[in-house]
């Protein structure tokens, strides 16, 4: 038993080693090598265990902790390597593995450090720290942030703060706090440097942002790179007019023309984009009034200068098409035609698939119909010969028969009749020949047909002690009376068959627009939902011994008369068959 378990452990651990080896082979990272080495020691440990268990030797227990220590050292080495590679932002795993919130924090850190590096020679690092303190006071999320002697911010405290916040809120709060901080830094920077220069710096910074988090920075980039340069150039009286006219929830324009959008991050992403669009719309209206069409050119130029990753996100979020007219018209056209093309392609694909499905179904149906037709006709010929000989035998034209022989031949004749009936049924399944049907069509009262059928079936009804209720109006139908009778008989006899003794069958017929609506309702055992779609298929039967043609024939006849047939059922409670046949208006 123990030996078996050791072997099992050995196999599983070796399997783990193989998978880790596959991962290492694919990515060839330094840290993976250490993990791989650690994983190699596990099967070695079980292999040693297998030897030691079968051939015990002195102090064999010492090797276990030794091997375990080896494994643990390898694991720690791997973890340390991975950690340092992530901290150094090396390789692909930095992008792949880093959590979205952490990646966002690193990005904000990079943007802040860049701006601090530019501002500190102008105003001194003390002033930057003072501004940072104000931000921390307003947003405690930033608590713990400080500027290191190399004039770079240290965000370790924020990492810890983030742990305390719920995962869903983490990104939002981080965005609110940091964009507030960055807005302050930009404002300070703009006091010394023309905003065009800042806008250029921001473009470079935003161009390097990973696609994984770009959506969080797109509103910021649009407002800061596209809109703010125009506002910063406005004269004080123009800016006052703009500020008075554009009062917007979540976005604020300060007295320097700076856009404060940090509060926008409290909304969901879609809501945020909507608000940005609305803000641009409202601002565009005022700007048009102040600067005429020139503003459209300026805005379009600024939009085009946005880094590609931001532009892609704008396309993805569908933001371009909602921009006010006059801005990015060419891009809108491209976007619309791209969207239209995609929609058109999808629609064409759907239609093609549908047509293909219909074609294959029709082909299959035709094949089925032909097959049944051929089989039925091929069976009919020999059957006629058999029937003739049986008739001759029964009438003793081929010699006298004793009582037993006569009885057996009568039995054969009875079964031949059944076979003939079945073949006739099979011949009815292929769709009705409409030209032929037109010749046989006549006007008749549906009530007469129904009464005939019920009369024919009264013996079975009586035998099963069932009750049949008929409520039929005097609607007239145009069609082949024999075929319609056959269809209705199939349905009514089906209801009688599946309704238990003392059950109830109701037959109703009423005018329904241009149709006569015939209902055959029973309180039998009902049909299961999954079977309901199949009951009209030829040869589908839920009962052993049944052929499954009755309802298929009824469907073929009704549809041949441009009518409709369907069934509704509640399993265990009963079934209702609905038939719609075209009515003759008197």
């Amino acid at each position: 038993m123990i030996g078996m378990l050791i072997i099992l452990n050995l196999i599983v651990s070796f399997l783990i080693f193989l998978v880790v080896f596959q991962i290492y082979e694919a990515y060839r990272r330094n840290y993976l090598f250490w993990f791989l080495l650690g994983m190699l020691f596990i099967p070695i440990l079980f292999f040693y265990s297998l030897i030691e268990f079968n051939f015990p030797f002195r102090h064999r227990e010492l090797f276990y902790p030794l091997l375990v220590i080896m494994i643990e050292i390898m694991m720690i080495a791997g973890e340390k390597k991975l950690l340092s590679s992530i901290k150094a932002e090396e390789g692909e795993e930095y992008k792949i593995l880093l959590r979205e919130d952490m990646m966002l924090l690193k990005t904000f850190e990079r943007i802040s450090n860049y701006l601090i590096g530019r501002i500190s020679p102008l105003i001194g690092i003390k002033n930057v720290e003072k501004s940072m303190e104000e931000c921390v006071e307003k947003y405690p999320m930033l608590a713990g942030i400080y500027v290191a002697p190399n004039e770079k911010i240290v965000t370790y405290g924020i990492e810890k703060n983030m742990e305390k916040i719920e995962e869903e809120k983490r990104i939002k709060e981080l965005c609110i706090a940091f964009s507030f901080f960055i807005e302050k830094l930009i404002d300070m920077y703009a006091a010394f440097v023309p905003y065009e220069k800042i806008s250029e710096d921001l473009r470079k910074l935003f161009g390097r942002i990973d696609p994984k988090i770009i959506k969080w920075l797109t509103p910021f980039a649009i407002l800061k790179i596209v809109i703010e340069p125009i506002l910063r150039r406005c004269k004080p009286d123009e800016l006052t007019e703009i500020r008075i006219s554009v009062v917007f929830e979540g976005i604020n324009i300060n007295k320097n023309g700076g856009i404060e959008l940090h509060e926008l991050y409290q909304y969901e992403y879609k809501e945020m984009i909507k608000k940005v669009i609305k803000f641009i719309e409202r601002l565009h209206y005022i700007l048009l009034r102040l600067f005429r069409e020139e503003v459209d050119k300026e805005l379009t130029k600024n939009f085009r200068l946005l880094p590609n990753n931001i532009k892609e996100e704008m396309y993805r979020a569908g933001l371009i098409k909602y921009l006010p007219s006059g801005i990015l018209e060419e891009e809108k056209l491209t976007f619309m035609s791209r969207e239209k093309l995609i929609k058109e392609l999808a629609e064409r694909k759907r239609k093609l698939e549908e047509a293909y499905k219909r074609l294959s179904e029709a082909k299959l149906d035709r094949m089925k119909a032909n097959f049944i037709n051929i089989i039925a006709h091929e069976l009919r010929t020999p059957l006629t010969v058999i029937k003739t000989y049986i008739d001759l035998l029964l009438h003793e034209k081929m010699g006298r028969l004793n009582k037993m022989q006569k009885e057996k031949i009568k039995n054969i004749a009875k079964n031949i009749e059944k076979l003939e009936e079945l073949i006739n049924d099979m011949l009815h399944i292929p769709s009705i020949d409409r030209q032929e049907l037109e010749l046989r069509k006549e006007n008749f009262y549906i009530k007469d047909v129904i009464r005939n059928i019920v009369n024919e079936l009264k013996d079975i009804v009586k035998e099963k002690k069932q009750s049949v209720e008929i409520r039929v109006d005097d609607s007239m139908v145009n069609g082949d009376i024999n075929l319609i009778e056959k269809a209705l008989k199939n349905i009514i006899s089906n209801s009688i068959k599946y309704t238990p003794e003392r059950g109830k069958i109701e037959i109703e017929a009423d005018k329904d627009g241009q149709y006569v609506h015939i209902l055959v309702r029973d309180n039998g055992r009902g049909i299961k939902k999954e079977e309901l779609e199949k009951i009209f298929e030829p040869f589908y039967t839920s009962e052993k011994g049944g052929v499954g043609l009755g309802l298929a024939i009824a469907k073929s006849i009704v549809e041949g008369h441009d009518g409709r047939i369907w069934a509704e059922s509640e399993f265990g409670k009963g079934t209702t068959f609905h038939i719609l046949l075209k009515r003759v208006r008197k």
């Binding site: 378990l5 783990i16 991962i23 694919a26 276990y64 902790p65 973890e79 991975l82 792949i96 959590r99």
Partner: protein, 97 residues
């Protein structure tokens, strides 16, 4: 050989603490969806190891019953680990192509 054994054993149960410290640090930065599975697997194997070593330390010899239990436990742990490693393999295969 009691003292070296105990020393090695103590070292082998202290090292996972260091490992888990680094693991937690890693989890602050990275998103490894199967991190919990890996931890659960590793913890089970680690428990199996402790069980395995106890008779050697306290009574100085092997106990078949404890050995059986620890092998069962380690098998469970390894199976959990293998599930986690497989899932990581498939996740990564999708991401890095």
């Amino acid at each position: 050989m009691f003292i070296p054994l105990v020393a090695l054993f103590i070292l082998s149960i202290v090292l996972p603490a260091i490992s888990s410290y680094y693991f937690n640090l890693l989890m602050r930065f990275i998103k490894v969806k199967r991190g919990t599975i890996l931890v659960a697997g590793a913890l089970t194997v680690w428990l199996a190891y402790i069980f395995f070593m106890l008779p050697w330390i306290f009574i100085g010899e092997d106990m078949p019953e404890v050995r059986l239990l620890s092998y069962i436990l380690s098998l469970v742990g390894l199976l959990i680990l293998s599930y986690g490693v497989f899932r990581i393999y498939f996740d990564w295969r999708e991401v890095i192509k």
